[in-house]
């Protein structure tokens, strides 16, 4: 079982080790016990055998002494000396009883019985144990275990002692026999502590036994006796083993108890170790899920406690860091308002299906102010605007700064009417002049409103729609415009446009329209701007703003621009051939400007159509320049080297400063239409435009005013030194043929 749980592993390791150690101890004890039992058995047997032999000797000596004393008895000797059978028999019986001998025999020195208590024998028979006599001849007396073979006591074993009868020389032998029976064996067993059996060597049958039949588990030792006999001393091994088995049993009990206690203890300990770990891992999961609020539970002051402390520190630091990151990610550093990302996210958090409105607010003529008064002032103005808009945010709504001077409101549950009312309050709030360093700035704003879910479901679409509506509002000077008023534009249309553009280019659906540019000094039409038009076979005319940004985004513009340049140069060649002194302007996008082959391509075109370079003007937006200023400058220098006129388009929308523009090889500055629209409304803003014109002239730039619609504007521009004007007030974009016709009419009108 391989457990993944630390708790189980700890318990298993601890208990396993204990079991191992205890097992070793038990095995050692068992092994030692066996050896001790074996040694003890041997020792007890050896001691028992020695004691047995000693006892036997002592017994024998006692019997010998007793027999010697008896044989020395004068009356006994006298009786024996009489050789009178009845007397001798009587005396041996009598004296035999004195020393408790069961058998008495008297033999002559010739080895023949003189008298015996054995009924089976008679005087004259040979003494049954001549070997004892032989031994006694040498050492004076002898003894031994002997079996009486004859008579009724046949087979009975005796300890026989033979002593001489001295009077004073040996006149006879007296033999005394003492029973060696089970009782004797039991007595011996009682003293030696061993089971005693007397057996004949190499013959079956037990002559005397202390009882207790021999067990199979007995250890035994054999003590050789005389007379072909031996004593078998037995020791039941179980008797020696008993205390050790008891010891082992108790030890086993202790081990089992110890293992149980240890198991319980280690499980508890593991639990105490693991519980804080579980809490820590739960806390870690919470932190992973982004919940930094809940502090960690208190932990003991050990290593785990230190870990928990580190964890707690990590939690608080991650929380503060994330807060900082979130702030960086979601808060606009300049105004402290939520940024675009935060705005999109807030929209995503709206309950699905709810309605509402997205309002995009743009400060009018901010770029102009920014350029005229500097970025520092521009930034302070933006902060002031944010400060004015902030209090307007309703409950549950949001105000964000999207970029530049573009702000957005998110109004939940707001319908068209509520949105319009809110937009009115926004405009009202921004209508008051802003005072910066004691200088009053009149600012205005426009608001584009997109409603959801009607105008879109996602924030990006809604913002874009609102921005389109904003553009509409600005164009109309209406202040407020709804996305719905700008015409329906299903979201999927953009995608199909991209696919359509490629086909349109091949099918010749793109055309160029030419808008005249009037030189205010001479009152002559000196140039036209070539504007791209798309006549869609199904949707009709598609405004450039609706497909050119996508062409730029997808890079398709790189295929369109060559066509535009080709067409424009071609037209310029035609007019040049016709004797018309008209320059043609074409627009370049960012991608075009970064194309390293741009200069060569333009030169080739001019050469191919034999057009003088001054008849071609290329218009570049500020933002196109800002993408890679160094590369842009290099390419512009190359184009300028060809003699082509270069114009900065939509000046005032972007952030480019005049100082930077001066470093470029540009000839012309086109003021964005929004400035022109403002000049007749606010004298102060007019002053900004005027100063811009003066500055541009000082830098040697031609100033072109775009979006000139009224005679008043035209007049103001002429009066304030603007070089060239362009707009509906002069002439709409038209085909080349229409332009030629219009130009003829214009010439007539001017003359008139």
């Amino acid at each position: 079982m391989s457990s993944r749980s630390l708790r189980h592993r700890i318990a298993i390791v601890f208990v396993g080790l204990l079991v191992l150690v205890m097992g070793l101890v038990l095995a050692l004890v068992h092994h030692s016990s066996e050896r001790i039992v074996e040694r003890e058995t041997r020792r007890e047997l050896a001691v028992g055998a020695k004691v047995f032999q000693r006892l036997l000797e002592q017994n024998q000596r006692q019997l010998e002494t007793a027999a010697a004393v008896l044989s020395a008895d004068f009356a006994f000797r006298e009786a024996i000396a009489t050789q009178d059978q009845p007397t001798v028999r009587s005396v041996i019986r009598n004296h035999g009883q004195r020393i408790h001998a069961q058998v008495m025999m008297v033999a002559g020195t010739d080895g023949k019985l003189i008298a015996t208590t054995q009924r089976a024998s008679a005087a004259g028979d040979p003494f049954p144990f001549p070997d004892l006599i032989a031994a006694a001849e040498v050492s004076g007396r002898s003894a031994g275990l002997r079996q009486m073979r004859n008579g009724q006591l046949s087979g009975q074993l005796y300890q026989v002692v033979l002593v001489p009868i001295q009077a004073p020389t040996r006149i006879a032998w007296v033999a005394m026999g003492f029973h060696v029976d089970d009782r004797w064996a039991a007595d011996m067993a009682g003293i030696t502590g061993l089971g005693v059996q007397i057996v004949r060597t190499r013959a079956p049958g037990v002559l005397a036994s202390s009882g207790a039949s021999a067990g199979t588990q007995d250890a035994s030792v054999e003590v050789p006796l005389d007379g072909g006999l031996q004593a078998v001393l037995r020791l039941p091994v179980a008797q020696v083993q008993a205390p050790f088995e008891q010891l082992q049993g108790r030890l086993l009990g202790v081990i089992v108890a110890a293992v149980a206690v240890f198991a319980a203890g280690s499980v508890m300990l593991a639990g105490r170790i693991v519980r804080p770990l579980h809490e820590l891992s739960a806390a870690a999961r919470r932190i992973a899920q982004g919940d930094y609020a809940q502090p960690l539970p208190p932990a003991p002051r050990d290593e785990i406690g230190q870990l928990a402390g580190s964890f707690e520190q990590m939690r608080t630091e991650i929380a503060s860091r994330e807060e900082r990151i979130a702030r960086l990610a979601y808060v606009d550093a300049l105004t402290d308002l939520p940024n675009r990302t935060r705005f999109l996210e807030a929209f995503g958090r709206l309950s699905p299906g709810a309605g509402g409105a997205v309002l995009v607010v743009n400060v009018d003529r901010f770029a102009l102010i920014n350029n005229a008064l500097g970025h520092v002032v521009g930034d302070r103005l933006l902060r002031a605007v944010a400060g004015q808009l902030q209090p307007l945010v309703p409950e549950g709504g949001m105000l964000a700064r999207l970029w530049g001077d573009q702000f957005a409101f998110l109004l939940e549950s707001a319908g068209p009417e509520a949105a319009r009312r809110f937009a009115d309050t926004v405009l009202a709030a921004l209508r008051d002049p802003v005072t910066l360093d004691g200088q009053r700035l009149d600012i205005g704003a426009s608001v584009g409103i997109a409603l959801f879910p009607d105008d879109g479901l996602d924030a990006a679409t809604l913002l874009r729609r609102a921005e389109l509506a904003l553009a509409t509002a600005k164009r109309r000077h209406a202040g407020i415009a709804f996305a719905q008023e700008t015409g329906g534009e299903p979201a999927h249309e953009q995608l199909s446009l991209i696919g359509d553009m490629r086909r349109a280019l091949a099918a010749g659906e793109f055309t160029l329209a030419y808008q005249p540019k009037l030189a205010l000094g001479s009152g002559r039409i000196v140039a036209v701007e070539a504007l791209l038009r798309w006549q869609h076979p199904e949707r009709g005319s598609i405004a450039p703003a609706r497909f050119i940004p996508f062409a730029e985004q997808t890079g398709f513009i790189r295929e369109i621009t060559p066509w535009v340049l080709e067409s424009a140069v071609h037209q310029a060649a035609a007019w040049h051939a016709a004797g018309l002194d008209i320059a043609v302007s074409a627009n370049l996008s960012t991608l075009d400007l970064l194309d390293p082959h741009l200069g060569r391509r333009v030169r080739d075109l001019l050469e191919a159509h034999a057009v003088p370079a001054r008849r071609l003007c290329l218009e570049i937006t500020e933002s196109a320049l800002m993408d890679d200023p160094a590369l842009a400058q290099a390419h512009l220098d190359e184009l300028a080297g060809l003699g082509i006129k270069l114009s900065i388009d939509d000046y005032g929308v972007g952030q480019a400063s005049l100082a930077y523009l001066k470093s470029l090889s540009v000839d012309e500055l086109k003021l964005d239409r929004s400035f022109i629209t403002a000049i007749t409304e606010s004298p102060r803003n007019a002053a900004i435009v005027e100063s811009t014109i003066m500055l541009s002239h000082a830098l040697g730039l031609t100033v072109v005013a775009e979006g000139v619609e009224t005679p008043a504007e035209l007049r103001w521009l002429r009066e304030h030194g603007c070089d060239i004007a362009q707009g509906y007030g002069i002439g709409r974009p038209m085909t080349a043929a229409q332009f030629e016709h219009w130009l003829a009419e214009f010439a007539l009108r001017t003359v008139a």
């Binding site: 004068f74 000797r77 000396a81 001295q166 004073p168």
Partner: protein, 217 residues
Amino acid sequence: MRRALLPLLCAAALAAGSASAATVEVLVQTPAGTPLADAAVLVEPLAGTPARPRARAPGAKGVAIEQRGREFIPWMTVVQTGTSVDFPNNDTMRHHVYSFSEPKRFEIKLYAGKPGQPVVFDKPGQVDIGCNIHDWMEAHVLVVDTPYFARTGADGRAAVTNVPAGHYRVRPWHPLQKAAVAPQDIEIEEAPVRMTLLLDARARQPKPHTEDDPDRY
């Protein structure tokens, strides 16, 4: 030839016997060649030789086996049948002299000094005498019919003197002999007879006075 010689020899003996006496000198030794002390050398007259009484008459000079130092002295005594023997006690303690031997059974119970009656050994044979109080005390009396006998000294030599000429049988005897040896017949004339006899016997070994052994009691 033997038949022719025998009468001649007999005649010579008879002639000499009546006329003179001689000494028989005997060396008794064990088969190992060790001189045997306390052996009796008996010279027994064969048929035809008169067994005249010894020069010193029995009783004239009494035979005694005294007890001194808790020992019988002498250890070995040879007497002619009918001799009275005294057992004077020269020790400070009493003795209890007894004999269970067939030729003469007697018992002189606990006495001091000289007992009243001497013991008369009236049958030939060996009489072993002990003391019932002192087991180590031992004396042997060899009762013989012949008047010609002697006891070997420490050198194993004995001389039987004044043996009249005639035919005799010479026999050694020792109380501890293992078996009787065959006697040797000799002719005694005037010249002394020297002979060596072999007798397989255990020499007397003084028994320890167990009473004096302090370890025993």
